[in-house]
Structure formats: structure tokens, C-alpha cells
């Protein structure tokens, strides 16, 4: 009996005597019980501003697909702005290719988040980060090529490149990038990774790419990507350039932006706009 009174006293001291804390407690209860049920269920795609690199979050409910991780730990801070606070699980990580501006952030993320599966296209590339990924996360790595696809609710995800048939590694690692096609609630989205003109040529057989709604422009809007031919074929409504402010490569290149302007493609640059979010 005495101990019960003591416990009650303690609770009274913590909560009732401290009105601010009590308010927080009630707010947290409401937050957990009510708001958790009302998570935005509409699918979203967010082009994260993580500096000079790529990181694209696609999510619906508590299901997340992250394409690339950027060059450093910025990804952790940016992801936190869009993912539910209690969700530290990413269902699918996608590594388009193992250059540092795509893989480093991803590896940092692997230390802090629960990752179910990593999709990548196996290449020969001697690099510390890439070797570390292959050696330490072998059991969740999944080598994918063109033809791989899956669906989650309103999100259809498919890999268009590299081709599986007669596979031979390109000399330019950018042209080994996974090219991803998303179909979300009737909208067509094409994520080019760092793929350059050579890959674009190979994609012209895909009739599905005619009339793209959102194009993540290849190789950070470098002049080595986005040919006239490819633009004519895909006819994107919106283009996204993912680059860091004052980067040493001079991305986005003037020529690429001019091409987009000529075709009245509305373009957004992450270094200017910050995170760019689309809900469908």
C-alpha cells in the first residue's frame, strides 16, 4: 500500500506538477494513437537535395524505395524530413552505379537504417566503398538487370537498363547505370542515373518512354547526356537536374539547360530549389 502511494506520488510529481510535460504527454498520445492512422497514403517521389549526387525517395504508406544515397551523410538529415519518425526501415535501396556521389551516403545509411534489400547491377570496379558493400552486405544484395520489376500499391517499378542479354561491361561506368522506369497512378517517371548519350540511344526501342511526365536527367544535367534525339523521343513535361551548389564539374551544363528550354520543358535544379517533392 505504501509503495503504491509512493509510486503515485512520483507520477504526480513528474506529470501533474509539470504542466508542460503533461501537455507533451497528451500530445504524444494523440500523436501515436490518432495521427499514426492518418499517415499520408498517397505515393510520393522526392528528389533530395544532398549536394553533388543523386538521392531519390519514392514512398507510399510506410514503404520506401531509395534510389542512390548521395556523396555524404546529408541523406540522413534529408530523409528524416520526409519519412515518418517511427519508420527507420527502407524496403528497397537502389544503387544505380558505384561512383562515390551515389554510393557513399548509401553506405552511411546502412549503419543507421534497417535495409531489407539492395538492388544493384554488378560491375567490375575497384573501389573501397563498393568493395565494402559487396563484402559486408552480400546477403541483401540483389543483382538486377533490364526486365526486373515489382509493384507496391500504386507504384510500379521496373529496370530498363543494363540489358541482361549478352551482357558486356561498358568502359564508362556511367553507362552501367541502372535506368529505372516508374509508373505511379498513371504518371510516367524516368530515372536515368548517370547514363549518358550512349545509353539513351539504346533506350529508344522502348515505346513506353514516349511522353514521360518527369525525367530525372542523366549525369546531373551534364552535356554528356540528354541528346536532342532522346528529348524528342521521351518528350518530358518536367526535368530534374540533381546537382550541388558550386560543384567542381560545372553541373548543370548550360547546353543541357538550353536544350530543355528550347523544348519548353519545365526544369528544376535541386541546388536552387532544395528538395523537390511530387505527390500523385
Amino acid at each position: 500500500m505504501n509503495s503504491t502511494i509512493t509510486i503515485l506520488k512520483v507520477i504526480r510529481k513528474i506529470l501533474i506538477n509539470n504542466i508542460l510535460n503533461l501537455l507533451f504527454f497528451i500530445f504524444a498520445l494523440v500523436f501515436v494513437v490518432v495521427l499514426k492512422k492518418n499517415i499520408v497514403t498517397e505515393p510520393q517521389i522526392i528528389f533530395l537535395d544532398i549536394g553533388q549526387g543523386d538521392a531519390i525517395l519514392i514512398q507510399q504508406d510506410n514503404y520506401q524505395i531509395l534510389v542512390d544515397g548521395g556523396p555524404d551523410d546529408s541523406i540522413m538529415y534529408e530523409l528524416a524530413k520526409f519519412m515518418p519518425w517511427f519508420d527507420k526501415k527502407i524496403e528497397k535501396l537502389v544503387l544505380t552505379h558505384p561512383h562515390d556521389d551515389h554510393i557513399l551516403g548509401l553506405l552511411i545509411l546502412l549503419k543507421k537504417y534497417e535495409i531489407k534489400e539492395i538492388l544493384y547491377s554488378k560491375v567490375k570496379y575497384p573501389n573501397l566503398a563498393y568493395d565494402y558493400l559487396k563484402n559486408n552486405y552480400q546477403e541483401i544484395l540483389h543483382d538486377v538487370k533490364a526486365g526486373y520489376s515489382f509493384t507496391y500499391n500504386d507504384i510500379f517499378f521496373s529496370v530498363l537498363y543494363p540489358f541482361d542479354r549478352e551482357y558486356k561491361q561498358e568502359e564508362n561506368l556511367n553507362n552501367e547505370s541502372l535506368v529505372i522506369f516508374l509508373h505511379i497512378n498513371g504518371y510516367k517517371i524516368l530515372l536515368m542515373g548517370d547514363a549518358e548519350v550512349g545509353v539513351e540511344e539504346k533506350l529508344l526501342d522502348y515505346n513506353i518512354l514516349n511522353g514521360i511526365d518527369i525525367l530525372k536527367v542523366g549525369h546531373h544535367c551534364s552535356r554528356s547526356s540528354t541528346s536532342e534525339k532522346f528529348l524528342s523521343f521521351t518528350q518530358p513535361e518536367i526535368a530534374i537536374c540533381m546537382c550541388g551548389e558550386g560543384n567542381r564539374f560545372g553541373h548543370p551544363h548550360y547546353e543541357t539547360l538550353e536544350k530543355l528550354k528550347e523544348r519548353n520543358v519545365q526544369y528544376f535544379i535541386t541546388s536552387h530549389e532544395g528538395n523537390i517533392k511530387f505527390s500523385f
Binding site: 513528474i14 504524444a28 551523410d73 538529415y77 519518425w85 517511427f86
Partner: protein
């Protein structure tokens, strides 16, 4: 009118003279305070003197050492002879007593000086020895074996590891002795290491270089680091096969890492790093934006194990157990604080913070007392003796000045509130301690960070009341996470909401276009010293003494 001002001024000066004289008498009467302060001062002068002696480089350190030793022996002999001759010449008992006192004072001063020199010679001669061989080691690749001494320090794309050598490194005729230096490794941040893990490292030993206006070389030398290896080839043994370092430290660090991993599984950034900082004093990395915001808001100390989060812990304990008598609350607070130190892996910065906060608990619970006046300089002396460069450590300076604020500025503010008839527990518990800590740490932060912010008190006062229960609920959440995950989610949701509130406040303040000012080097020195002088004068004049007629200082006079 003029006469009235003159008389008022005279009264102020008289009060200062009496109080200043009292403090001098007080310090002189308590040997422990006097010698602690003298040691700290002497140590600082010696360190800066020895490190900057140009001759030491030219004529060799050993010669200088012998030279200084001879000077002091001569001085010592001089004082003894002088005393004896004076004693023999003196007439009567009074004269002999006076000379005797003089002898004791000069003997103690000499012992102190010798102690300072002996302590620092060891430190500096090691530094010079390593520096002498530095050129032969740099620009050549070296292989060595060592173990991870402390937890890695995260950077945005890399991490820094301090390695304790397990063997001497030899290149040609030169040797780096295994205990003479730690090696700093800069490796990509995706690697995982554990404290005590033994690694074979192959890379180029490089001397650190200063950058911008930061004396990086001195900063590392203060931590006994004279070499850096960037992106080395590294292969580590599994800890189950071989592990070095103290068993207790390794065990505690492992436990802390495990608990922080649990937090990371639930909370996002920056909430997880904030909680890790508040609960375990863990130094974590924030985004540049948030880092700037905490600096502008003046709340960096909350997550930097400066001792203030330990004070929050003691406030929490005294609030929860407010039904207990003061004595038991004090004991409980001390137990909880030292449990916190153990949970934080007994890292030097936390131990320092806990020691300092233990003093401030004495101050907060017992009010002003002689024991605190003695304990504060003595603890500082212990730290400076153990690490001669402690005064160059910003964390140490912030800790000690925060405690100084709680001991000497808080009573002034409390008295002012009493006079203004403000009776609020909120003001008493949160606003006043925050204000006194902010005021006392202001000179240090102006001097070191070269910034001045007007938001500090406001932001701290808004955040601090929340942090008490953040600690409690955070701890409960971690405790039951693996047993009752859903209930722990409820606790975490409170913590998350509170830390979101922390984040929002800090980010809001950051957006205000004024209130934070960057200072140039010279201006920061002038303002820093002026603020310090102002605070000292404030304490001298306003520190509450119950009865001026019978206070210690006046009696001493």
C-alpha cells in the same frame, strides 16, 4: 548633486576595496585555494613559455632543462642562505617569526615552481622528441600495429580514429616510441570499428597542418597526437579473437554503443543524435544547418557533455524525489550522475562534467559554503595536473565556467528576484540557472567561438524545462525497447515530440536575421576580457553576504 554622486562613487569604491581585500585574505588563508590557483596560473605560463622557446630547438631541449634546473637550485640555495643570515641577524622573536614566514612562503613557491616545471618538462620533452623525428617519418609509408583507443569521431564523409601504438615504429635511425604519441587515422565513415579492436595499418605518416585561423597542430598536440594517416590500408582483427585496452572501458563503451543503436532504430535525425547527446553525452554529427542553429541558439552545450545535461539530470532527480529530505536527494543525485558517467563509457569529458556537476549540486542544494570555494579550484588543479593542457580544452573551460556561474552568479540573481518579489518555481529552477550559466560561459564562448548571440538565454529557458522529462522518457524508452516495443514507442513519441520542439525553436531562431554577431579576433579578445571583468566586478559587488559586519572577509581584516 555632484557631491551626492561623489559620495555614492566613494561608497562603491570602499565596498569594492573591502570585499577585494577580504577575498585576498580568504585565498591567502586557505592554502589549498592559494596553491591550486598558483599552480594553474604557473602551469599555463610554463606551457606557453616552454612551447615557444626558440632556443630549445637550437641548443637542444636537454641543455635547457639542465640550465633551468640549475637556475632553480641556485634560487633555492639563495633563499635558504638569505633566511639563515636574516635569522641570525634578527633581533627578538618577532623578527625571526617574520623571516620564518617569508622562508615558508618562498620555499612553498619554489616547490610549486619545481613541481610545475617537472610535470611540464616530461610533457614538453616528449613533444619535442617526437617533433624532432617527425621529418624522417613523414613522406614515407609505414606499417604498424595499434588498437582503437577511443570511439571514432564522425565527420560528414569520413571518421577520425585515435590509435594507440602496440609497437615502436622504426624508420632508419629514428624510432617513435609506442607511448610517445597517438596516431590519428582518417578513414571513410562507412567502416565500423570497435574500441579496443587491434588493427594493422599501412599508410603515410603526415604531420597535421593548421587550417583557416585554427591552430590544428596545437589542438592535436594537446591530445598527444602528432601524426595523421589519411585513408590507410587497414585490416582489423575481430574483437572476439583479440582486444586491447581496459576491459571495463571496452565493456561500458560497448553497452553505450548498443543503447545508442537502439535509439537509432527508432528515432530519425536530428532527434536520435540529440537524445544520444542528452542521455549519453555522445558527440554526434548534425547537418551543417542544424549545427549552425544550435550555435546561434546557444544550446550546443546541452548536447556536448559540458556538464549542463548532468545538471539537468540532478534537477530531474530532485524533482522526482522531491518528497525526500534534501540530504537523500543529494546522495541520489550523485548516484544517478555517476551512473550516467558509467553509462557514457567513462569518457574523460563526461567524467570531468560529472565531477564539475557534483560540485554544482553541492552549490545548488546547500547554497554558498566554504567547501565549494575550496573544491572548485582544487578540482581545476587536479585536472590541470593530470592534463597540463586542460586550459586549452574548450569543453573544460565551459564546464568550469558553468559551475562558476551556478556557484557565484546564481545567488546574485536569486537575491535580485527576491528583492523584486518574483516567486516562481519555473524562474527559480530554469530561468535563473540558465541565465547564470549563460552569463558565466559568455566570455569563453565569445573568446573561443568569436560569436555573440542574444538568443541564448531565451532559447535555453524555452528548451530546458522540457529536457528533464526527455531524459526520463528517453531512458524508459531504451530500457523497455526490447521487452515491450509498443510501450517504448509511446515513450519515444513523447521524446520525439519534445526534441522536435527543440529543433523547431532552434531553427526558428536561426531564421531571425539579427541577434548573432561574428567578431574579429581582436574584437573577440576585447569583448571576452571586458565581459570577464564585468562579471568579476558584478560578483564582487553583488554577491550576497548575510551580514557585512560579520562576514569572513571583514573578520580577516
Amino acid at each position: 548633486m555632484h557631491l551626492r554622486v561623489f559620495h555614492a562613487g566613494k561608497r562603491v569604491i570602499q565596498k569594492y576595496a573591502v570585499r577585494f581585500g577580504g577575498v585576498v585574505h580568504y585565498v591567502m588563508d586557505y592554502q589549498i585555494i592559494k596553491y591550486s590557483l598558483l599552480y594553474i596560473l604557473g602551469n599555463q605560463l610554463t606551457i606557453s613559455y616552454l612551447r615557444n622557446i626558440p632556443y630549445a630547438k637550437i641548443i637542444g631541449f636537454e641543455v635547457l632543462e639542465i640550465f633551468l634546473f640549475c637556475v632553480f637550485c641556485a634560487l633555492f640555495l639563495f633563499f635558504i642562505l638569505r633566511w639563515k643570515s636574516l635569522k641570525s641577524k634578527s633581533e627578538g622573536l618577532k623578527g625571526a617569526n617574520k623571516q620564518g614566514k617569508f622562508f615558508v612562503l618562498s620555499r612553498n613557491a619554489l616547490i610549486l615552481v619545481l613541481l610545475i616545471f617537472a610535470r611540464n618538462f616530461f610533457w614538453i620533452s616528449n613533444e619535442r622528441e617526437v617533433q624532432k623525428s617527425m621529418d624522417s617519418f613523414t613522406n614515407s609509408s609505414t606499417a604498424f600495429e595499434g588498437y582503437i583507443k577511443a570511439e571514432s569521431e564522425e565527420k560528414h564523409i569520413s571518421q577520425e580514429l585515435t590509435v594507440q601504438l602496440l609497437e615502436d615504429i622504426r624508420v632508419g635511425e629514428y624510432i617513435i616510441k609506442k607511448n610517445s604519441t597517438y596516431i590519428l587515422l582518417k578513414v571513410p565513415s562507412f567502416y565500423k570499428f570497435q574500441v579496443g579492436q587491434v588493427c594493422k595499418i599501412f599508410g603515410q605518416l603526415l604531420p597535421p597542418e593548421n587550417f583557416d585561423d585554427f591552430d590544428y597542430v596545437r589542438y592535436l598536440a594537446n591530445q598527444k597526437i602528432y601524426f595523421i594517416v589519411e585513408n590507410p590500408s587497414i585490416s582489423c582483427d575481430s574483437i572476439s579473437e583479440r582486444r586491447e585496452g581496459s576491459f571495463l572501458t571496452n565493456f561500458l563503451v560497448d553497452l553505450k554503443v548498443k543503447l545508442i543503436e537502439d535509439v537509432d532504430k527508432v528515432l530519425n535525425e536530428p532527434q536520435s543524435s540529440l537524445l544520444a547527446g542528452i542521455l549519453f553525452g555522445q558527440k554526434r554529427l548534425f547537418s551543417n544547418e542544424f549545427d549552425d542553429a544550435t550555435r546561434i541558439g546557444g544550446v550546443s552545450h546541452i548536447v556536448a557533455a559540458s556538464g549542463y545535461n548532468v545538471t539537468i539530470l540532478s534537477l530531474l532527480v530532485s524533482n522526482i524525489f522531491s518528497f525526500l529530505p534534501k540530504k537523500y536527494k543529494l546522495i541520489l543525485s550523485l548516484i544517478v550522475i555517476w551512473l550516467f558517467a558509467v553509462l557514457s563509457g567513462l569518457s574523460p569529458s563526461i567524467v570531468r562534467a560529472c565531477l564539475m556537476s557534483s560540485i554544482s549540486i553541492f552549490a545548488l542544494l546547500f547554497g554558498r559554503s566554504n567547501s565549494i570555494n575550496i573544491l572548485l579550484p582544487f578540482t581545476a588543479f587536479i585536472f590541470v595536473f593530470l592534463s597540463p593542457t586542460a586550459l586549452s580544452n574548450v569543453g573544460f573551460l565551459l564546464s568550469i565556467s558553468a559551475v562558476f556561474g551556478l556557484v557565484y552568479i546564481l545567488p546574485i540573481l536569486a537575491q535580485t528576484c527576491k528583492q523584486m518579489k518574483i516567486k516562481s518555481k519555473f524562474v527559480e529552477n530554469y530561468i535563473l540557472p540558465t541565465l547564470s550559466c549563460t552569463l558565466s560561459t559568455l566570455p569563453v564562448s565569445v573568446f573561443v567561438f568569436k560569436t555573440i548571440t542574444i538568443w541564448s538565454v531565451l532559447v535555453n529557458a524555452l528548451i530546458l524545462p522540457v529536457l528533464e522529462s526527455t531524459m526520463l522518457f528517453g531512458f524508459l524508452g531504451i530500457l523497455i525497447q526490447s521487452v515491450l516495443p509498443h510501450l517504448s514507442l509511446l515513450f519515444y513519441s513523447i521524446v520525439n515530440t519534445q526534441l522536435k520542439y527543440f529543433e523547431e525553436i532552434v531553427m526558428f531562431i536561426q531564421k531571425i536575421p539579427f541577434g548573432q554577431y561574428l567578431l574579429s579576433d581582436s574584437v573577440s579578445i576585447i569583448i571576452g576580457i571586458s565581459l570577464l571583468l564585468f562579471e568579476v566586478l558584478l560578483i564582487f559587488y553583488f554577491f550576497p553576504i548575510k551580514n557585512e559586519q560579520y562576514n569572513y572577509y571583514l573578520k580577516s581584516n
